[in-house]
């Protein structure tokens, strides 16, 4: 059982971090990067961004727990995902994700 499964990364304040590390999700050894970042008042935005990008790139991390206020500052790190057509499959303009979600918010007859 030990070694199977992926890790959960955490980015948050001291108490949040202490709590989740007490829960047993922390990893810190010479073979892999730590899966947590304690965010204090002097933690810079670039450090937060770099750590977030690192977690996104790690294959052994399946999910990230992050304080909401920290995520608000990181949305620009998440790249814009643009759906483009391919030669083999036509692009379905009605199903492009963002406009589709927006349409769903205002058109109640879609649910009939």
């Amino acid at each position: 059982m030990a070694g199977s499964g992926k890790l959960m990364a955490v980015m948050g304040g001291k108490d949040t971090m202490t709590g989740f590390l007490l829960g047993g999700i922390g990893v810190l050894n010479k073979h892999c990067q730590p899966n947590f970042l304690v965010m204090e008042k002097d933690t810079t935005i670039s450090e937060t961004e770099d750590t977030f990008q690192q977690f996104l790139n790690q294959d052994d991390i399946s999910s990230i727990l992050i304080n909401q206020h920290a995520l608000d500052a990181l949305w620009h790190c998440i790249p814009a995902i643009l759906e483009i057509p391919s030669k083999e499959y036509l692009c379905d303009a009605a199903n492009v994700s963002i406009p589709h979600r927006a349409r769903g918010m205002f058109m109640s007859e879609n649910l009939h």
């Binding site: 030990a2 199977s4 992926k6 108490d15 829960g23 047993g24 810190l28 050894n29 199903n95």
Partner: protein, 180 residues
């Protein structure tokens, strides 16, 4: 007939989606409550042990995870998450080891090959005797981790449900084009 079946399926999916959303909201509230309980217990532990005794200064320099997240893909991209505990021993394994220790008189002690040592309980970072409030904090955050896995599964299920709903709505539009 086909559109009637589609509508029935749409209704079912929509109801399922609404139930999942309700469950998600309940789990989020439960997670927030566990985390807040954990913060309070940590504050109590800090009061008992000293202001600097419960914090990043006590973190071990070497950590192995006690819990991991397992993921599985069910159907059509629906992902499920669940927490798995590492290094747990069965009662039979614990019993046999105790018998071996009792027979050590006169026998040279041979170190047992430890292929997968159980990860250390993080409570030990804070000392041998820790206050009950620190154990309570650990219990609250452990429950929080289970809830986090459930929330991740629900979020995946809701995204899947929404995409299924959109597909069915498109099929219905093709079967029943609107009159101008």
């Amino acid at each position: 007939m086909a559109s009637r079946d589609l509508r029935a399926e749409l209704d079912f999916l929509l109801l399922q989606l609404l139930e999942d959303l309700e469950q998600l909201e309940a789990k989020r509230q439960a997670l927030n409550a566990r985390v807040e309980e954990g913060w309070l217990s940590l504050s109590k532990a800090r009061y008992a042990m000293g202001a600097k005794s419960v914090g990043p200064l006590q973190y071990a320099s070497h950590m192995e995870p006690q819990v991991r997240v397992c993921t599985g893909e069910a159907q059509d991209g629906l992902q499920k998450f669940w927490m798995v505990r590492a290094g747990t021993q069965t009662p039979e394994e614990v019993g046999s080891r105790e018998t071996a220790l009792r027979r050590r008189k006169g026998l040279p002690r041979t170190p047992e090959p430890d292929s997968s040592p159980a990860p250390q309980n993080p409570l030990k970072w804070f000392g041998i005797l820790v206050p009950h409030s620190l154990r309570q904090a650990q219990a609250s955050f452990r429950e929080g981790l289970q809830l986090a896995a459930d929330i991740a599964s629900l979020q995946s299920r809701i995204s899947w449900g929404r995409s299924q709903l959109q597909e069915l709505q498109e099929k219905l539009k093709q079967l029943e084009p609107r009159a101008p």
